[in-house]
Point group: D2
Chain length 363, copies 4
């Protein structure tokens, strides 16, 4: 299968790496070829292609996404480009992979999801494939936590404190759509849906710490989930001291779980069904045995890093593709996240609680 | 000075201990005599008096608080009794110590604060005297954090999960006033005011996980502070796995701080002004040297426990009394907390943001 | 019961505190009276007596330990005084409490143990009564660890780095007997015996980092235990950054345990008999329920401090005394520790492995 | 450059991965070709070659290492094969890479080092390139720790507890040379040399917990370093609960450092030159900025895993090769480690302290 990728930034490196590495760890019945990488700056795209072994380069994605020799179009470009590329690629019948957040708006995301339809597709909410998060999902599905009371989420980094960064596309409303909401909260929302189901109502607040910023620096959310639990979310680019502080805590009647991406190979687990004298938070080193992906990467005690979440996402996608199974998170999942993001902005503007429809088509 | 205390429960033990111990650690120019302890159950009060060396017992506080030989009235009784006892004691000219939360309502708290007036008084928001929290206060006052962006607070225990506890006064609206709000959030709010100043606006939500409960099991708050920072608070009796999980994180332009009461002798500190290669969260063992109260209790590395926060509160009060200084937290501080608690309940009922007046008299 | 205590230093404060506090937490059928405190410096002993409420002071212990109104003689004086005071007190028929290490030498310790004989006695190896250590003992006795492979112990503080301290009695061979061995390693050895049984053989090494020091600054030991496990011990006054870093790890066929005194309320526990996916180190907050001493002090999640280990030691002693039970650790236990200390010095001097006799009388 | 690799086990996967990945992260002026992989089992080597994209397979290394089209011979085979392969490859003029431990004995290692001579070579003591360990090295070289007092090292896993594993080559003396010594302690010794310099004297002890085992299950060492510090080492395959617990603590007059491979992206750092109130152990997340390798892999807060230590080792080797610089750790470094390993066995056998010659040739 031939891949065309749009983008040459940090995340494009992570994608390229996954394309090269997936076959070394996952048993997949497809050979992936890194065919074309697209980028506007000729010298940058040439360097990128050399470093990451792409066969060709192109200046314009428009000339590439419809090429008959391309099977997969992968979007690793700024948010504003997600919709046009994805729609063009889908119309050309390609398999589409898209970075998160899916779109600038729900309206865009709806068109994207509709266009891509039942075609194989993937959105890079890569943290679902952190082994510790996959393990958490397994525990929850087995009923290990009992009735869930609290879902608490945070995503703090310090990227916004440097005022000089305001020139990046991530701080432009037209390019990024939003700030901490799309950049950070979208990850938290996808993880929350994965682990705890749909949000039914929320109240939110957004904040700009730097006057004149076009997008939110920080966002807070109080939420109710359809399973009766309550949620709190906070995401900020002003969490000084946190590099990639993406975590959650879940409290249920039978136990609790905790996670932080800065200690990505760990899951905290409290089992309230044990004898009281031995109840205590466990620090699970999620590198196997009997842990997700542990037989695929190294061996017990040998930790994995950030990039492996992309490899595992791709590995699961390709294995599912071979079996004809639907992959998650896909455009529909990402559309649902986009709806919640929009409700967050609505609530922050109105100061009121808003209902989040669980329905995909009616919004 | 002769003390009369009302109450024989857990917290009355902590107060009694402080009365005995304060002179052994603090240099105070007063001898404290544990004169009378009041409690309705004769055998219980007799046992308590024996164990904690109170000279006399009494069944009714009404017969005690006005006695001419009593100098200090200490209220360690359920919340509904705080107002009548405090008002009677203040009218009788006594020094009044009161457990938190101050009252069942702002109206009650206002009368209490007005009646006690300028008379020496104290409210047992004892966590201000955790050495780690006092150290945090010192850092903040010296400008160590720079401009504060985020104040994040949580207080989780698991006391509410056991349905059998619903018979306790803590679950009766008439006795307790509120649930997690008065029991847990009030502590968080006092600490927040102490460290980060006044809240100006908030939106809140309360929850009952057990049908039929008269009081809130959990509460969430989004807040804005007068210093421009934003706050999030969450308090719950359904934090399964947390015994006394009372903590905060503060993120500022120059650094951050973190604390959790289950590791009471620790303060986490991140200094963002250092050379990047050595920036990292420090785990300060706040047992000295140069730490608050460290020369008063044991010696570096020899940790203190829960009870010492009461001893230090009392020690500071008595040393201030000798110098004619006003003590904090006092009834006025607790009234301010009570106002915020009331706004939390208002916002939770209306689903709207509410303003919190910073003014003491006008409310 | 009337107590006479010799000493007015830091440890004498901890003892005095325990004498006052024991009856408030433990149900003991004895009233303790802090009768006389002995110290050479008249103003110092007067201040001490005032602060800690001793009824009388005395300059010379010789005039006190035989007084008919004294029931208990408590030794909180430098090591060189332990033997003469203990022997005099024992000959006068008193109950004797002694600080650790018991003596300057095995020879001294043997005379002390023989003289005190079957009379009730206690040595302040207080860390046996850290709730987390008592819990560890319970786990081990129940077979939770299976066959023990490794016992690893360390005790690091930074007290020796300041060269100015060399004037303290703790750095004089005549006063202290040894350095890190008696000050720190003796605690480690008592804990090891308590948890893992007797050492049968050892090889050791001692070090002085400051030229001219009379006593060891650091000591290392490799050991074999009678249960077939192997041990490593290291104790040092040059552990820069460690205030009271006294800990151990025990690895057995069914699990492992870990402890550090700087986090005194915690016990780390790994259960290797569980399903592999949930095996992970637990961080037990040893404040109950179902934990040692938890019903005696505060309540779950409310931590205790350094001083409570003395209170609990005394509480257990007095409850045992009432029942006619032998208390541990006593002079015989401390003599056994002294023998191992002497073997450590012998091995360090010879560079050879030495056998440690398990026999009390034959040495 | 064409590579021939001998071995198809776990470590061969890590090597293959590094050969593919190095050029994507490091700017290296060599193209690496994975030419031939050698393994005895035809189906196994075929599978391996397919998964890791080796161009050819071979059953016998003897037919490969001298091939004129081969530039680099990489040894990822059991210990007993290191010497014959390395010597043949060196004689054939190849660049030689060898897994650790270098050899079965010092005699073998001497011949290997002599044969390889000044030819470019590398020994896979990959942990020197853990960014946290490289950062520690930088701190030490800058004098951040002052005079070093204590070097403490441990390496615990639980691989030996399963009696069934005794059939692996790792438990055969003829194949492995030693047990925990070569498998685990050799890593600890290389790291110690790298960070703290040469050991001059040691006393050691080895243990077998399973009767009949040919090699040591555990080893303990007390050591003296040429810089005046003292060391303790312990390595064991019976550390139940530890998956890859390879760590160290270094205490110096100005501060201390700590590391554990299970939290590979972290370095603990205590700076004793700061104001006492802010002294505390820092938990550095060693992912940049200004950290070793941080600009090469992902970005701040995005952690790396086990495999990156091999990529970084290879990247440094190739960059050095281009500049004509000598690489470390090389055969000479590994020979020095081998000498210490031999002294460890000698001391364990004799029960005596032994001197370790610092001289390379004279042993």
């Amino acid at each position: 299968m031939n891949i065309a990728m749009v983008g040459t930034g940090f995340i494009a490196r992570a994608h390229s790496n996954a394309f090269h590495q997936v076959g070394r760890f996952f048993d997949v019945p497809f050979a992936l070829h890194l065919k074309v990488v697209c980028g506007r700056d000729p010298s940058r795209v040439a360097d990128f292609a050399r470093q990451w072994e792409w066969q060709e380069t192109a200046a314009k994605w428009e000339s590439v996404v419809g090429r008959p020799d391309i099977d997969i179009v992968d979007i690793a470009a700024p948010n504003a480009l997600h919709a046009p590329i994805a729609i063009a690629a889908a119309r050309a019948g390609k398999i589409v992979f898209c970075e998160k957040p899916l779109a600038l708006s729900v309206a865009e995301a709806e068109v994207m999801a509709e266009t891509v339809g039942k075609r194989p597709n993937l959105v890079w909410f890569n943290y679902r494939r952190v082994p510790a998060i996959a393990l958490a999902k397994g525990f929850i599905d087995e009923g290990t936590l009992g009735q869930v009371f609290h879902y608490r989420s945070y995503y703090f980094n310090q990227s916004g404190v440097d005022a000089g960064k305001a020139h990046s596309w991530r701080y432009k409303r037209a390019d990024a759509g939003s700030g901490a909401i799309g950049d950070l909260l979208s990850h938290s929302l996808d993880t929350a849906r994965y682990l705890n189901g749909e949000i039914t109502e929320l109240a939110a607040s957004t904040h700009r710490f730097v006057p004149g910023r076009e997008v939110d620096d920080a966002v807070q959310v109080m939420a109710r989930f359809s399973n009766g639990s309550i949620g709190s979310f906070e995401a900020s680019r002003f969490g000084v001291g946190r590099r990639n502080g993406n975590g959650f805590e879940i409290y249920g009647s039978k136990g609790s779980l905790g996670f932080d991406l800065e200690d990505m190979n760990r899951l905290r687990f409290f089992d309230a069904t044990e004898s009281p004298a031995v109840q205590g938070e466990r620090n699970l080193l999620v590198t196997g045995p009997d842990h997700p992906y542990s037989s695929i990467f190294w061996k017990p005690g040998h930790i994995i890093g950030y990039e492996h979440t992309f490899i595992a996402t791709l590995g699961d996608f390709l294995q599912g593709l071979a079996k004809g199974e639907e992959f998650h998170p896909n455009f529909e999942d990402a559309l649902r996240v986009q709806r919640v993001m929009q409700k967050v902005e609505e609530s922050a503007a109105s100061g009121r609680w808003v209902k989040v429809s669980g329905s995909y088509l009616s919004g």
